[in-house]
């Protein structure tokens, strides 16, 4: 790709807010960290734009830069991007399974009702679900980003989906 001003601005115009929102998701809703990482991200984009070979991959390339900048930001400062990471609830057995199988009640598939249900989850649970399902980050990536143990992230994700299902069932 030819790294031109137009291309830079095109990318920025198309993805600027989305990238910022992605960073916000990783940054514990810390507005200042978000701004810092946002700035760092576009500086890196500027530096490395000429290495982007395939325009079709631009968006994922962008997001991976944003993710790496967030990772660097947090690993350096010792702060972690996961809000309120907590231990397993005592009722849950610590099974090492990957994902939750089974049907999701319709309530979850409806965005507005899902929004209300999500509000019942803790900050950490919401964050893990968003990074995992909205941004397709793997559990290992989330663990790496937040500094939490891989299993802990897994259990938070699992607990969150169980809770969501429970709340949705209660509703219907």
């Amino acid at each position: 790709m030819e790294a031109t001003r137009e291309f830079f601005e095109e990318l920025y115009a198309a993805h600027g807010v989305g990238v910022k929102r992605f960073i916000f998701t990783q940054a514990r809703r810390d507005a200042d960290a978000t701004d810092d990482i946002f700035q760092n991200t576009w500086e890196s984009v500027f530096r490395y734009l000429h290495t982007l070979r395939d325009g079709a991959k631009a968006k994922s390339w962008l997001y991976s830069i944003a993710k790496n900048e967030a990772l660097r930001y947090f690993s350096r400062s010792g702060k972690r991007g996961l809000t309120g990471l907590s231990s397993l609830d005592s009722e849950d057995a610590p099974e090492p399974i990957d994902e939750v199988a089974g049907d999701f009640p319709d309530a979850i598939a409806d965005a507005d009702r899902l929004a209300a249900l999500m509000g019942k989850l803790s900050g950490a649970e919401q964050q893990v679900l968003l990074l995992r399902y909205s941004y397709d980050m793997s559990l290992s990536e989330i663990a790496e980003l937040t500094g939490a143990n891989h299993n802990t992230v897994k259990s938070v994700a699992r607990r969150a989906t169980i809770k969501l299902r429970k709340y949705a069932e209660v509703e219907s």
């Binding site: 910022k20 929102r21 000429h50 290495t51 968003l130």
Partner: protein, 800 residues
Amino acid sequence: MNDKKNIDGEGLVRALKELTEAEPPKLDFYEGFDADIPSAGEMFESIGKRAGAVIEEEERERKRFGRFVWITSGSLAAAIAIILFVTTVYQPGMFSGGGFGNPQSNENAEIVARDAVPDNDSASGLVSGANVMPAELPAQQSGYEAIYDAVSPFVNGAGNGSELDRGFYGEAEASPAPDIAPAPAEASPAPEIAPAPTEASPAPADESADVGTRDTDVITEAPAAVQAPEEASPAPAPTYADEFSDTNVQTEGVQEADVVKTDGRYIYTANSEGICITEANDGHPEVLSEIKQVMDQGQVYFEMYINGDTLTLVRNGYSNLKGKAYVDENYINNGNIDYVGEGYRIDTSVDIYDVSDRENPRKVKSLSQSGSYTDSRMIGDKLYLLSSYGIYGYGAIDEDDPRTYVPLFAEGSEQIVSKPSDIAVPPEIETSEYMVISGIDTSKAEFVSHKSLLGRTYTVYASKKNLYLTEDKYETKNVRMKGEDTYYPYYYGFTRITRLSLEGGKVKAEASADVIGLVDDQFSMDENGGYLRVVTTTSDDRRERTTGLFVLDMDMKQVGAVKDLAPGEQVYSCRYIGDVAYFVTFRNTDPLFSVDLRDPKKPKVMGELKITDFSEYLHPYSDGLLFGLGQDADEDGDVRGLKISMFDNSDPYDVKEKDKLVLQSLDYSYAAENHKAILVDERKSIIAFPADDSYVIIKYSAKSGFRRVMAVRLEIGDDYGDMYEWYGGLRGLFIGDVFYVIAPDSIHTYDMKDGFKAIDSVSLGSGAAYVHSESYEFPEWAEPDEADISPIREFYFEDF
């Protein structure tokens, strides 16, 4: 690892994506998200235009100032402001013809196959303490004095600096501009691994000449005296009769700050309400005094040091609270920095208290420096404080006023502005962020010196004489494989290491160099006998990652290395014991490497213990025993739970995992990421650390291995905001025969002479946000029969 999404969850995924993109936000999670961003043109201008201006000037100024780019007209301010906002490596042809960053400049990078990575021999020298902003004219125009220290003999064989390369914080006028050509890569030598000695022959006679000699002498390792019972202090410190455990620091004699401290008689704790000073009282703790924080929410106090009767608190700065009423009495003459102009500034402050009367702590003075808190160390009574100060934002800079873009300091009511000689700038400006390092004499509550480097710092390691800062960097070089025609950009990570000398509070930038690969944490580095040893794992887009160990001299010039170890794996922990380095890599299996460092020019792998679990923290327990805390894993690399191990390293050529305890129902210990949270003490044969929602205490004996003693389970109320920070604040310590478990809201004591029976508890602060604590014992565990004892003993918890 299995990350596939369940197909029934597709509806969830779609709905979540819709919610994420909703504008205005429909999710509580996005409350507070500000979708406002500068326009594309503005963003480009702020990054790109300045770079363009710099490029034009560089052509003119190159001859005069060498590699540095400068503007001769205008003030120092303008020059610095421009330097600050340049974020890209200069590339010829940038901004001409509409393109930028055209990667044709590195035609000379003909590289052989997998050795596309530049070798590490391009270490460069550094001029001691020099001001590297060749801003003579602009500086004088602003009334500043540009001070150039004499060229230090440390400049590596460079004479006038002609060989100076990346990683150089140095004096521009000494160097004519070298061409931007990468150092030719050398083929990396085959990894040298001492062959595993056969069981039958203890004598080294069979080994060939070019592998590590196995002496029949036992390799002496430094005794595991990592936890010094007392901090080194020039002032006579009150000494208390009882033996006690101090903060688990990396380097003996170099203190590290923490949220909990003890001097053997008093316990000092920090939580979201402030600081408590508690008298230990042989297990019946009594809070004597509190220092309350003034902010109405969020943690103000980060961590602290106690040194005799001087309590040093590191905290958030108050500079952003201007105008808030409750700050006034604390604000004036309080070591707060008087920023000019608009914009949000972060700073870090230090409160120095005289606590000779523990019931009435008296603040001596506050000092502040720009930037958010990164780390600190204390040697004797000299505090070295590091913060990172980024200059971002649009319109926050006044080009005529350096106070808007250089690090500022305050000492009591005195305001200090960085001079050009206090700042060092690398040849490629890639960030507008400073690492600010100051030396503070805590006995006098004053700054001794400060130095700021323009660059980011990721890891801080301190020996008694030097501070080493590492910066993760990435670069794209154009390489082509031998025999091919096309060049391609090759993106890889490397580490810039900068050494600063520390002496009596004086901080001086001495040398820096680049090493291929990235470091894991502070334990990846160790200084010994005039050499810095560092372990890195490569990170590039073309081949499998590998691990290497590099030995650098004090000029940061590489003298020896062993490379290409553990392909496909990543370093998880590292510890140096005298002249042997131990490190653990992991992806599926977990080799524990031991490397012989007796000859700095020829580090050699002595052994590689292959086990499935991995350690995230290594700790010398005693002579011949190395402790590891980490995760148990199966053959596929899936983790199964927390584990602790004791390795027998009496023979570093043949390290064995002697004992192992898997805590299967426990997932995670904060100690894996913060070594200060773990207590390992041979004197009491005790290992203690937080794990999930408990604090776990384990006893160890070489004869019977690990014995679970107790787990204190702590519950927090739902009201408490950040459980992660709360669990991160759990600590344990002992004074005499009493064990103290310290949570942010309370202290609980146990009798070590009577099976850890609970003695007492005390609340710290109001205790309002927290519920209660309860403790219980592990299930009974019988001593195994002699017949059951096998070389590796594994004990699995049942439900606990």
